[in-house]
């Protein structure tokens, strides 16, 4: 059975431990954006022993490269990008305290293992629903790597941003569970 939660960032271990694959969550508060290029830079900073451009403890990273805002809007369309491209970087960030990731598509075992070990969850947002999801973002500010354009790190304020728990802290995977129910062998 799927449960619906309203959560506000930053997330605690207690917040993420109650979530199960298939649960629906409405997120509010601050979340940060990063795609491939920004992830590489964040991990490079950690390798160099330097500080990240935002506090990673309890944070949520949204894998998104939005369209430019129209005049008067905080942001354009902003749906998730495919997450596997961040698989080689996410475990490192999870070990540093990252509690949630929002994207679409499968994650590898390194990521789901890290989610179990360090208590983090992977949320799916609806790919291709960029117009709808963009409307749940009330403010956006570039805080690092402006030269990366759509791939810059942005600080977003979101209200009731709709996501579904794909990978929980117990090793369950919604994609596997869902598909097994409808696959005709």
């Amino acid at each position: 059975m799927s449960t619906t939660y309203n959560l506000t960032t930053p997330l605690s271990d207690e917040d993420v431990n109650k979530l199960k694959s298939g649960d629906i969550v409405y997120l509010s508060g601050t979340i940060f954006t990063a795609r491939d290029a920004a992830h590489k830079r964040l991990v490079d900073l950690l390798d160099a022993g330097k500080e990240l451009p935002f506090d990673i403890k309890g944070a949520i990273i949204y894998f998104v490269g939005p369209t430019p805002p129209k005049p008067g809007d905080p942001i354009g369309s902003a749906g998730p990008t495919t997450s596997y491209r961040m698989d080689s970087y996410s475990p490192r960030l999870i070990a540093e305290g990252l509690k949630g990731m929002i994207g679409k598509g499968k994650r590898n075992k390194d990521v789901t293992d890290a989610c179990q070990e360090h208590k983090a969850v992977y949320f799916g947002a609806t790919g291709g629903a960029g117009a709808l999801l963009g409307k749940q973002i009330v403010s956006a500010e570039v805080i690092a790597y402006e030269e990366l354009g759509p791939e810059a790190v942005r600080k977003l304020e979101v209200v009731d941003f709709p996501v579904t728990v794909v990978n929980d802290t117990y090793g369950a995977d919604l994609y596997k569970i869902g598909r097994a129910q409808y696959e005709v062998k």
Binding site: T67, K106, G127, A131, Y175, G178
Partner: protein, 283 residues
């Protein structure tokens, strides 16, 4: 010889790019509504509902359907009796593309393959467009356009089989491609399959197959039947909308086939996400 002004091409290309970014074409919208009606999984049904709502918001508020506003892909047929005045056809399409992406507040998604630097400061905003050009009879210019996103492109593949692989080999190959892709390419999908030709001919045919209206019949009865067989197989995979599990994974399979070398059976699978933004104009 009929003359068409360079500026007219620029304007038309700009307009279809801006319009397509926020308006799902009728064939794609109808296919999504059908999927919503037919879907057995309540979770996938809920996500389909969200996507239909997204299409409403995008169209009424003129917002891009998806933040991935794609690379601009064109199949252009120029009549032998048309002359473009004031510049080159290719330049006009590129200029219209840049205008469309800039003026429509669409995303700059083109970059250098290794440095990943965004090209907008060097060669232009989302340029160059991907243009496939053909010369035909007549005095018109026919432009088919699609915005091609990265998520579905990333799961596409091509292979040259030995002839013995036959129809069964093709069916298995397409099935393996869509199964491996799972949730990643944003199902429910349109699957373009290029069969025959040479290696590159198969790939280009699989791309062009995605431009056909969803729900239209293949003119070749043998390929039309094969499309039905593959569609049925793919919907047994159970992937569902955005991989949530379900009965509606693929909206349509479109095949384009060509004669090929006696030694080869080239096959290419090009995947399109549920946001099948494509259109067609004639000048």
């Amino acid at each position: 010889m009929r003359e068409i002004a360079y500026e007219e091409i620029v304007k038309n290309v700009r307009d279809i790019i801006v319009y397509s970014a926020s308006n799902l074409p009728e064939d794609a919208l109808n296919a999504m509504k059908n999927a919503y009606e037919n879907e057995k999984s309540p979770v996938s049904k809920e996500v389909l509902k969200q996507l239909l709502e997204n299409a409403d918001i995008a169209s009424s508020e003129k917002r891009p359907l998806c933040q991935d506003t794609g690379l601009a892909v064109f199949f252009v047929k120029i009549g032998a009796d048309v002359k473009v005045v004031g510049g080159l056809l290719k330049d006009a399409i590129n200029e219209g593309t840049e205008k469309g992406y800039v003026e429509g507040y669409l995303r700059a998604s083109t970059c250098h393959p290794f440095t990943r630097a965004n090209n907008k400061d060097t060669v232009g905003y989302n340029l160059p467009a991907i243009i496939h050009l053909d010369i035909v009879e007549g005095d018109k210019i026919d432009i088919e356009y699609a915005a091609k996103g990265g998520g579905s492109e990333n799961v596409s593949r091509a292979r040259v089989f030995p002839p013995a692989a036959g129809k069964e080999g093709v069916i298995e190959y397409v099935k393996e491609c869509i199964s491996d892709a799972g949730p990643n390419p944003c199902p429910p999908l349109t699957v373009g399959v290029g069969i025959g030709g040479t290696f590159e001919k198969a790939v280009i045919s699989s791309k062009h197959a995605l431009f056909r209206d969803i729900g239209s019949k293949n003119e070749d009865p043998e390929m039309d039947e094969l499309e039905g067989v593959i569609l049925k197989e793919l919907n047994k995979l159970g992937i569902g909308t955005m991989g949530m599990g379900g009965t509606e994974t693929v909206l349509a399979v479109h095949i384009e086939s060509n004669p090929c070398h006696i030694a080869s059976l080239p096959v290419s699978v090009n995947v399109q996400c549920h946001s099948s933004r494509h259109t067609h104009i004639t000048l």
